[in-house]
Subunit: 307 residues, 2 copies
Amino acid sequence: MAASALDVPQATGSQGEFREKLVAEGLLLPSSVPGVTGQGPAFVALRHRLDRAIDRLLANEGAVAMEFPPIEPRHDMESVGYLTSFPQLAGSVFAFHGEEAEALQLGEKAHAHQDWSGHLQAAGLVMVPAACHPVYPALAHVGVPAGGVTVDTGPAWVFRHEPSDDPSRLVAFHMRELVRAGSPDTVGAWRDDWRDRALEFLQSLGLPAAFDEANDPFFGRSGKVLARSQRAQKLKFEILVPVGGDNPTAVASFNAHSDHFASVFSLGADVHTACLGFGIERCVLALLFTHGLSFDDWPADVRAALS
Amino acid sequence: MAASALDVPQATGSQGEFREKLVAEGLLLPSSVPGVTGQGPAFVALRHRLDRAIDRLLANEGAVAMEFPPIEPRHDMESVGYLTSFPQLAGSVFAFHGEEAEALQLGEKAHAHQDWSGHLQAAGLVMVPAACHPVYPALAHVGVPAGGVTVDTGPAWVFRHEPSDDPSRLVAFHMRELVRAGSPDTVGAWRDDWRDRALEFLQSLGLPAAFDEANDPFFGRSGKVLARSQRAQKLKFEILVPVGGDNPTAVASFNAHSDHFASVFSLGADVHTACLGFGIERCVLALLFTHGLSFDDWPADVRAALS
C-alpha cells in the first residue's frame, strides 16, 4: 500500500494513560488539536530547569548563540531538499493577500467555522522543521572562520506535521541544537565526543538512556532506500529513553551532514557540518515518566543536577 | 481606494539606516524574507537580560506560568473573531495530506523552486497572533478561581503577516504577556496599576517612554469604525519609544477585553479579562537605539537594571 502523509503513529494504551495523568495533574494543557499542547506551571518550571542544566553542559563549548523564529523562508527549505525527503512533516504558512470585499467573505466564513482556506495564498514562509536549519544560511551570511564554529540555537520551536495523541509526538516542540561547521575531521571528532557527553548527561539525570544507530522518517518507498543508506553510512545516532510505555523514544539525536548543507549554502570548499539536538519536551516527559510527576519527590542527585 | 492586505508600512530612511547598522554589527542575521530575522549573540544576550528583568518585575505578582507553542487551533482563532478584524495579519498552516505519487510531484517542483502550494491543504492550525490568545481556552480547561487569576505567558513567539524592512516591524517576534481574568472591577484596577508600573519599568531602563491611547490595526473601512469605538471606550493603551527614527514605536500595550474572551470560552458569568504585553524585540531595539549598540557602554544604572 502506498504511504500516506496522514499515517501517523498514535498512542499505545500506556502512552495514552501517561498523557491522561499529565493532563489531570495540570502539567499539560490540551488544545482541540492532537499534538498541540500548552504547558502548565510545573511543566514550564521543569523545562527551565532542564534549559539551565544544558546551559551548564555547554558552558565550556565556546558556542556562538544564534536564535531564530519558528518560521523560515520557503526558498531555504526547498534548497536543502526537505520537501523531497519529508513532505509529510512540512508546514507552510499561507496568508490573505486580497482587498476589502474578499476580506468580508473570509471573515464571514471564518465566523461560521466554514472553509475559508481558498482565500489564502502561500506567503513564502515555512515552519522551521529542525532548530539547525536557519543556522546554515546565517553562517553563509557571517562566514565560517578558519578553525570552524559551533552554534547554540537555544531552545527553538520546531514543527512536524504528525498530529498524534502520543504525548511524546508533538506537532510543535522545543529543540535545542548545537551545530558544528568546520573541516571534516574536526566535525567527525566533535560529533563522536558529544555523543558520549550527551549520553552521560542524560544518565546523570537518572534516565535509563541508551544509544542506537537510527534513520530519519523519510517518506514512502523511495524513503526506505534513503533510510537504509543513512544507516549504512552511520550518519544518524539517537539516545533513547522509555517515555510513557513500551517503545523507547528518541530524546536526542546526532546527525552528520557531510557537505550537504555546506554546499547548498556555499559555506566553503572543505567545510562539513554536524549537529546534536535535544528534544526538550521529550526529555522533560522522560524525566516525569522515570521519576514521577512531582519534582520534590525525585532523587536528590537528580534534583541537584536540575537546580 | 480599497485597503489591500499587501499595504504594509516600510522603513523610513533613518529606520533603514538603523537596520543596516544592526546587521553590520552582527546583532541581526537577515534572511531572504523581510521581517524574518535571526538574532546574533549580542542580541540574544540582551533579550535574555530583558527577560530576567521582567522576571524580577513580575516576581510578586503571583502569576501562573502557562506557555504555548507558536501555533494554535484554527477553530479558536475563528471563534474570537480575529479573521474579521485582522484578516491581513493572520498566518495559516498548510500541510501535505496526499500519497506517494503526489509527494514525488511536490518534491520535484520544490527542488526546482516552482509553485507547489497546490499540493497543500489547511491543517487546522494558525500562527498564534498574540501571546494571550491560547490562554483563554486553557483557562476554560482549568477554570478561573473565585478570586481571579493572573497568567504569565513567558516570552512567546507570535506572528503578524506584515513583511517590512523596518527592523521594528517583524513578522515573528517574542511577546510576553500578563493576562488577568476576574471580576470586572479587579480587572480594571489591575490594568490601571500595571500601566503605571510598566511605564516606570521602561523608564528605569533609560528609555524615553511615553504613554498614549491607541487602537488596533483593524482592516479596511469597517475597521476604521472599530478603531474609533476602541479609542472612544479607552480599551487600548500603549507605551511608545522612538526606535530607529522619527515615529515613536509601541513597545508595550494594555488591552481591556470586557467579557469578549470570557464569553467566547465560557469563563464564567461575571468574568472580564485584560492583558499587558511587552514586545520583547522592540524593547531590545529601543534600548539599542537609545543607548547605542554596545551594552558595555550603556549607563551604569541601566546595566545594573539589566543584570
